[in-house]
């Protein structure tokens, strides 16, 4: 039963952080290159554009959910299971989400990079 809760927490962390990363990326693509915008209109305009963006606010909420799910996950299972499992799976799910929702061109090079980094994260935890 404890293992079921631990995997449930990992599933929640992975879903929430994937949703968070995807929404934040979507928000920043809507805002555009922030360095260029700051040069043209100032820092206050950049902050205004970012903080008024609905995707940004939803993304931050999803990231907060992932953070609290991680805290609960750590109270049910070992840190050596929760952190590497959720971090490595998030690299893979983010690649799927970026392809489906953000219409990014995820070519073989990017799939391979995501898989290598995910595998590397698991090995770091051993």
């Amino acid at each position: 039963m404890k293992q079921f809760y631990a995997w449930g927490a990992v599933a929640l962390i992975v879903s929430a952080s994937t949703a968070g990363d995807t929404l934040l990326s979507h928000a920043m693509k809507q805002v555009g290159d922030v360095a260029e915008l700051r040069r043209r209109s100032g820092l206050a305009t950049v902050l205004g554009c970012v903080l008024r963006n609905t995707s940004f606010l939803l993304g931050v909420s999803a990231m907060a959910t992932a953070f609290y799910a991680m805290l609960f996950g750590l109270s049910w299972a070992d840190v050596s299971f929760v952190i590497p499992a959720s971090t490595s799976l998030t690299f893979i799910t983010n690649a799927f989400a970026a392809k489906i929702f953000l219409h990014e061109r995820v070519d073989r090079r990017r799939w391979l990079a995501a898989l290598l980094v995910a595998g590397g994260v698991v090995l770091l935890a051993i």
């Binding site: 693509k29 043209r40 554009c49």
Partner: protein
């Protein structure tokens, strides 16, 4: 990719590692926080080490947002995973921890992954067509200041 953009990506990795390490060290000094005294979790942010860690994490978030404004998510995430490599090097050479062969293999896999992704383009280019549903929407920032 310009030098400034590589600096932003390096900032994401360095600020995340420094912020996490400072907060983690600060929390270890504080010890366990009881569920009956949840207010103490607010007060811990006033401890110098944790406050500095939070500042570094804010810098990480600013760099991460800046990177996502000009690069794809599937480029930024693997490229900034050099933070895992940095963390292992800090563990070995600064904290003098024992780093196993499996962890060095993990560092190698991540390094190859970072190398792969940084060789390719940072952003997916979508050609603008006349049909509004086929083309990417114009960024909000592009309309400001015209």
């Amino acid at each position: 990719m310009t030098f400034r953009k590589y600096l932003v990506l390096a900032g994401v990795a360095v600020f995340a590692v420094t912020g996490d390490s400072l907060v983690s060290r600060g929390m270890k000094q504080v010890g366990g926080i009881s569920l009956h005294r949840l207010s103490s979790i607010i007060l811990v942010v006033f401890r110098p080490e944790i406050a500095l860690g939070v500042l570094f994490l804010l810098a990480f978030f600013a760099c991460y947002m800046a990177a996502l404004s000009w690069a794809d998510l599937t480029y930024v995430l693997p490229a900034t995973s050099i933070s895992f490599i940095l963390l292992t090097l800090v563990a070995k050479f600064v904290l003098h921890e024992n780093v196993s062969l499996a962890r060095w293999l993990g560092v190698l896999l991540i390094s190859i992954g970072v190398g792969f992704v940084t060789q390719g383009p940072a952003l997916t280019h979508r050609p603008r067509s006349d049909h509004p549903l086929d083309s990417a929407p114009e960024p909000v920032g592009a309309r400001i200041g015209r």
